[in-house]
């Protein structure tokens, strides 16, 4: 049995092909999905998605969204998704540092909310690069 994965963003289809296994970071922790998984619906946190193609692991940074699993089909709806190999490590690291600095000097409820979001996005991107193994 093979799992078909479909990652959709408002702009385009990021991934639409068959995979062996995926690991999703959901709001309640990471879950691994193998073929013949029970049908579930879950919210996806800002974090990484790991995809196994045969013996190769790929990572993708997901910017929060929703996933539906069932019938050996996984549909992932996210605001933005970037493949780990497409991210520029230096740029991502810089963005992370800027986000950290911004959070430290954020004042007021609103700025903190914004800075936190930015930091989590930046962190997910850096993780997506570093996890490649």
């Amino acid at each position: 049995m093979i799992l078909s994965l479909c990652v959709l963003t408002p702009n385009r289809i990021v991934w639409d092909s068959e995979v062996k296994e995926i690991i999703l970071s959901t709001n309640s922790g990471q879950i691994g999905v193998l073929p013949n998984h029970a049908p579930i619906a879950t919210a996806i946190d800002i974090g990484i998605l790991r995809i196994r193609l045969n013996d190769q692991w790929l990572t993708m940074a997901l910017m929060g969204g929703f996933a539906r699993i069932g019938n050996n089909e996984v549909t992932v709806l996210v605001n933005d998704a970037e493949k780990g190999s497409d991210i520029d490590p230096q740029e991502a690291q810089q963005t992370l540092e800027i986000a950290e600095a911004n959070l430290r000097k954020a004042e007021g409820k609103r700025q903190i909310i914004e800075a936190n979001l930015a930091l989590r996005r930046a962190r997910a991107r850096v993780e997506a690069i570093n996890v490649i193994s």
Binding site: L8, T9, P10, N11, R12, I13, T26, N27, S28, I31, A38, P39, I40, A41, T42, A43, I44, M63, G64, G65, F66, R68, G70, N71, T75, L77, V78, N79, D80, G108, K109, R110, Q111, I113, E114, L117
Partner: protein, 375 residues
């Protein structure tokens, strides 16, 4: 130059109360602007006042009109090509929005009995409203930017009358320069959008709106953009963005209706048609989830994850529609300008030829008279 009163129009626009609002307007001021919209009146300048100027001036004028015509023609073609690209962008986003609507519909069904309490759906008494004003980045597109800004002004006046505080989030260069010149209008943030709208730009706006709303700085967010109806028609609309209501109806706690009459509520079960001349609203097939589907988290939490996605796709759609309308407006403005230029060229060459003929006739008469005098 002595030839005045000629209507060489790039575009005609109904005059604002404030004439400085558009940069290229001032460059046109020596010419007289008729007050009728150019869109439905292509043959208008046949009754212009006579042209009084010399042959040489006429020649330069004809030359410059010819050049202008070339430019407007080119701009028209460029806009037409870009409309296609904008159309493709909408088509690319289709799978996402279709799946999203389907999932939202299903979850709403499941939650019908529950009391939904997601932060983005919380309806509070409205004390302050954020207006997201989406304008274009460039001019030369007829009344496109003007109409939207006028709409925004009208909305601001409405809110003032109701005694509700407001703030503006301006998207697009034209709106930015308009609000920058009016420091008495409170603007929360200026945002730029370059080229084709992508999820990144929509995300920037969504982040801003989200934090404003969640931190309770504003109690309602409205989106002002130009809805694309067809290639020749588009209209500025006001759209309530937040609070999102799964049921689609928003009623103020105080009993005062804050929504403008033409306010459009979003519908969760429908999606916009594609960018063709007709705008169809088709219903997405909402197949039911398999009955054994489990929710990994609380349904409310899942709704919480979905609503920002929905917010984003709404904003993205508004940006795309706004761009499509801008390009369509530019296309028609430029084709009008091209028509006007060719008409002007025609009447100028007619005058030129007449004057030249008159001059030749005069010269021949002189020669004949001179020859007569010699004999």
């Amino acid at each position: 130059m002595s030839c005045s009163n000629l209507t060489m129009l790039v575009s005609s626009k109904p005059s604002l109360s404030d004439t400085t609002s558009l940069s290229f307007r001032s460059s046109l001021s020596p010419f007289q602007l008729p007050s009728s919209p150019a869109a439905n009146n292509p043959s208008r300048s046949s009754s212009v006042t006579p042209i009084h100027c010399g042959l040489r001036e006429l020649r330069t004028r004809i030359e410059s009109v010819k050049n202008t015509q070339k430019i407007t023609e080119a701009m028209k073609l460029v806009a037409a090509a870009k409309v296609r690209r904008a159309q493709e962008a909408v088509v690319n986003g289709r799978p996402f929005s279709e799946t999203l609507v389907e999932v939202l519909y299903n979850i709403n069904e499941q939650l019908q009995t529950d009391d939904v309490d997601a932060p983005l759906t919380k309806v509070r008494p409205v004390k302050k409203v954020a207006l997201v004003v989406v304008t274009g980045d460039r001019g030369l597109c007829g009344g496109f930017n003007n109409y939207l800004i006028k709409k925004a002004e009208a909305r601001i006046a409405d809110l003032k009358q109701l005694g509700i505080d407001y703030t503006i989030i301006s998207v697009g260069k034209k709106g930015n320069s308009y609000f920058l010149r009016r420091p008495y209008i409170p603007v929360d943030r200026f945002l730029d959008k370059g080229g084709l709208p992508t999820a990144k730009e929509a995300q920037a706006i969504a982040d801003d709106v989200f934090s404003l709303f969640v931190s309770e700085e504003v109690d309602k967010v409205e989106l002002l953009y130009t809805k694309f109806v067809s290639l020749v028609k588009s209209e500025p609309v006001i759209h309530t963005l937040l609070p999102l209501s799964p049921k689609g109806e928003i009623c103020d706690v105080n009993g005062v209706c804050v929504d403008a009459a033409e306010d459009e509520f979003f519908r969760l079960t429908t999606r916009e048609g594609k960018l063709t001349v007709e705008r169809g609203v088709s219903r997405t097939a909402t197949t039911d989830f398999s009955p054994i589907l489990q929710f990994e988290q609380d349904p409310v939490q899942i709704l919480d994850a979905l609503l920002p996605l929905y917010l984003n796709s709404q904003i993205l759609k508004a940006l795309q529609e706004s761009l499509a309308s801008e390009l369509a407006a530019r296309m028609s403005a430029m084709s009008n300008a091209t028509d006007n230029a060719s008409e002007l060229k025609k009447s100028l060459s007619m005058v030129y030829n007449r004057q030249r003929q008159a001059k030749i006739t005069g010269e021949i008469l002189e020669i004949v008279a001179g020859a007569d005098a010699l004999t």
